[in-house]
């Protein structure tokens, strides 16, 4: 065989069209990665509605191309990079400033989503740690995050001053951080 012919054959094999992914495999792909991607966007500073929109936009961008097999971690990294670029483009277009800088957000995400996990383990650990807190701390957190009250309003409900609420919340955060670290390390052991 002529050497050029062999090269031509090899090229035609490598550039052959990738078969289109079936709807079932797309659905599995989306289900597998959507929570991880959505949380990543939340950590980067998106509100829940915007995280929904950018998750959809990211998947559509990725699904427009033939679905390559990256393996679990590779697909997640690729999706996260695409989502981050989409978010940065959106911020530049609408001239929005980031609520948190990217380095801190990514560090926070790496802390919350231990390898191979989409954050569910940390969230479960947080749930258990919340149960261990004193009733006043639980109530303060419920008012702050559940009812989205300001510090002054929380103070009025709990009979504390502004500084009292601030130090109560700070002490609670420190306790929760330590508790989550302990539980995750205990799970790993």
């Amino acid at each position: 065989m002529h050497p050029n012919r062999a090269v031509a054959d090899s090229i035609s094999v490598t550039t052959a069209p990738v078969p289109t992914a079936t709807l079932g495999s797309l659905e599995t792909f989306i289900r597998q990665h959507q929570t991880h991607l959505w949380r990543y966007l939340r950590f980067l500073g998106c509100d829940p509605a915007q995280a929904d929109d950018l998750t959809q936009e990211t998947f559509l961008k990725v699904l427009d191309k033939p679905l390559a097999d990256f393996g679990g971690g590779g697909a997640r990294a690729y999706l996260c990079r695409t989502a981050k670029n989409a978010l940065l483009k959106w911020r530049e277009r609408d001239q929005r400033l980031a609520r948190v800088d990217l380095a801190t957000a990514e560090m926070a995400f790496a802390w919350a989503c231990v390898e191979g996990d989409d954050g569910t383990r940390t969230l479960d650990a947080l749930g258990q740690c919340l149960d261990e807190l004193a009733p006043s701390a639980q109530q303060a957190l419920q008012l702050r995050y559940g009812e989205e009250l300001q510090r002054g309003e929380i103070g009025a409900r709990l009979g504390l001053g502004d500084h009292g609420v601030k130090s109560l919340l700070q002490r609670t955060y420190a306790r929760l951080r330590a508790c989550i670290e302990r539980r995750l390390r205990h799970d790993d052991a």
Binding site: E27, Q34, T35, D52, L60, Q95, R144, Y145
Partner: protein, 109 residues
């Protein structure tokens, strides 16, 4: 190494998800529907592309366009301003250099 600031940020997001109504919803159906709509959309016809490419573009302006001006003004890119001023001064010096005032430029340096 995770900083306490990053851990606090993580905690804040996780607490919002746990205690507030900010949990992730299942977007599978929504994404698949949008994907179907997009893949069923007709491909642009060759003659349409041709017509678009024939459209005349306006002549490029030597001044920065509105988007660049906006980026300069708002996105914290004032750092470029000294460079632009320096370039403008060098341009002025070159322009004056070709006139009768050229000997006076030397005294500036």
């Amino acid at each position: 190494m995770t900083t306490p600031e990053a851990q606090d940020h993580a905690l804040h997001i996780l607490l919002e998800e746990r205690l507030g109504e900010h949990a992730p919803s299942d977007l599978t159906a929504r994404i698949l529907a949008a994907h179907q709509v997009r893949s069923n959309a007709p491909e642009p016809q060759p003659h349409q592309e041709k017509r678009r490419s024939r459209r005349r573009r306006p002549a490029p302006s030597p001044l920065p366009d509105r988007r660049s001006r906006r980026a300069l003004a708002t996105a914290g890119r004032w750092l470029l301003l000294p460079l632009l001023i320096a370039l403008a001064l060098v341009g002025c010096a070159l322009a004056i250099g070709s006139t009768g005032a050229a000997p006076f430029i030397y005294t500036m340096f």
